[in-house]
């Protein structure tokens, strides 16, 4: 239970954190909630020479209402988002997904940004960024850039955030009004890493036909994946069991699951399809209910 020694700096704000990052050299890391980083440092799997602590900056928790979306400061703890009334009303899928992240004590410290930058493909939040067409605001001493969710995740535990960059905020786009959501995952126990999971947002027109769909899966590839082929199957169609099965089947083309000590790739493929059907069922049902 003992991390190796390191130098420690407290950042006043994220800009300051960028400056410290720049001047500290290669082996420095941002400490946001630390729920992943400290855990790894306890095992000495991570041994940064410098830690830059942003966990107590002023207004670290911030969820801003924007036109057509919300902007969440990267240093916002997950529980803050989960408990936000605005998020509960406008982004119920996001709340529901966050509740599946570890346990509430972890979520009291773990940040939205930290989870996303960690980029565990079995984690719920990266998939949510795909489901909500998220945009990632990244800063450094050199300036700022925006990256869309579809480009943000590179592979296991790897994003486009460079060593001298800091994720500043994430904008989640609000789905259209006539939308419903669904979310299902299989884990060995609640709060464990998902063995596989699927989420869906479905928008229906007055005739009950699907005009827009987002299907995002996790635990099934090296990154979270958006199943655009499966989404296309739904466009223009009304609900039917066969429609959902056909949509879920076409999820297979983007899956690249691994076998590991817990489950096989075959299992992940099969369950991904099953969970997609269930998520779509819930999404259609909820979308109908708001019509």
């Amino acid at each position: 239970m003992k991390p190796a020694a390191f130098d420690y700096h407290r950042a006043d704000n994220l800009q300051h954190a960028c400056e410290l990052l720049s001047s500290s050299g290669d082996d420095s890391k941002i400490l946001a909630g630390g729920q992943t980083l400290i855990a790894m440092m306890n095992f000495r799997l991570a041994r940064p020479k410098v830690l830059i602590d942003v966990s107590n900056i002023a207004d670290g928790n911030q969820v801003l209402d924007e036109d057509g979306g919300i902007r969440i400061r990267a240093t916002t703890v997950q529980r803050f988002v989960e408990n936000s009334e605005s998020v509960q009303q406008r982004f119920p899928l996001l709340c529901h997904a966050i509740e599946h992240v570890a346990h509430f004590q972890i979520r009291n410290k773990g940040t939205i940004g930290g989870n996303l930058v960690n980029a565990d493909p079995a984690s719920e939040l990266p998939a949510m960024s795909l489901a909500f067409d998220a945009e990632f605001d990244i800063i450094s001493v050199a300036g700022r850039r925006t990256v869309s969710a579809s480009e943000f995740f590179v592979t296991y535990y790897t994003t486009v955030v460079a060593p001298n960059e800091v994720l500043s905020s994430i904008r989640f786009a609000e789905p259209p009004k006539n939308s419903g959501w669904g979310f299902h995952e299989v884990a060995r126990r609640a709060g464990d890493y998902a063995l596989a999971g699927s989420s869906a947002i479905v928008t229906l027109d007055a005739a009950g036909k699907c005009t827009r769909a987002r299907i995002a899966l996790f635990g099934v590839a090296a990154t979270p994946v958006r199943a655009t082929a499966a989404e296309d199957v739904l466009i223009g169609e009304a609900y039917s069991e066969d429609l959902l099965k056909a949509s879920a089947r076409s999820v297979q083309s983007i899956l690249d699951p691994e076998s590991d000590v817990h489950v096989t790739a075959d299992y992940r493929r099969s369950v991904a399809e099953v969970l997609t059907v269930r998520a779509l069922n819930d999404a259609f049902r909820r979308a109908k209910a708001v019509q």
Binding site: K2, A5, F6, L31, G34, I38, A39, N42, N56, A190
Partner: protein
């Protein structure tokens, strides 16, 4: 490197110079001799180390003492008020919610936080809320009973339930 960490622990001001890699749980147990908070694992799973930082339940094994700088920390030792046990503590005894007692401080601190957030939980909500705490002795049956019992004995909360 040495840093200075100043905070309040159980209402008392504390300030110490320590190495930055000192975990909050080690700070509490070894520097402050508050040994009621326990270490049961090394992967943030078991919850024996749960304390409150600024009213939020956190796992002190996955927090640097430095991250608690400027905060108010409450440990199991600080739960009593003027020698009176917290209703959750009373309920753990009345419902036999502990056997060896090792997971109990973390379990109680998590339960207090849960009830602050949701003063009238269902049994399912209590069980879900205990996801971050492992007990090897009780099978959880009496822990759940204790928390539900405590919820009927706690003073009414304001509508704006405090963060937990």
């Amino acid at each position: 490197m040495s840093i200075t960490v100043s905070l309040q622990v159980n209402g008392r001001n504390v300030s110490e110079t320590l190495e930055p890699q000192t975990l909050l749980v080690d700070f509490l147990r070894n520097h402050l001799r508050l040994t009621g908070t326990h270490v049961g694992c090394d992967t943030s799973q078991c919850g024996a180390c749960v304390v409150h930082v600024d009213g939020l339940a956190v796992k002190s094994c996955t927090l640097l003492a430095a991250q608690a700088h400027g905060t108010q920390v409450t440990t199991i030792e600080g739960l009593e008020t003027e020698g009176r046990l917290h209703p959750v503590q009373e309920a753990f005894r009345s419902e036999h919610g502990l056997q060896c007692g090792f997971c109990t401080p973390g379990m109680i601190m998590s339960a207090v936080a849960l009830l602050r957030r949701n003063p009238t939980p269902t049994e399912a909500q209590v069980r879900e809320g205990l996801e971050g705490n492992i007990c090897r002795c009780t099978g959880y049956h009496n822990i759940v009973k204790a928390i539900l019992t405590a919820s009927t004995h706690m003073p009414a909360q304001s509508a704006q339930a405090s963060r937990s």
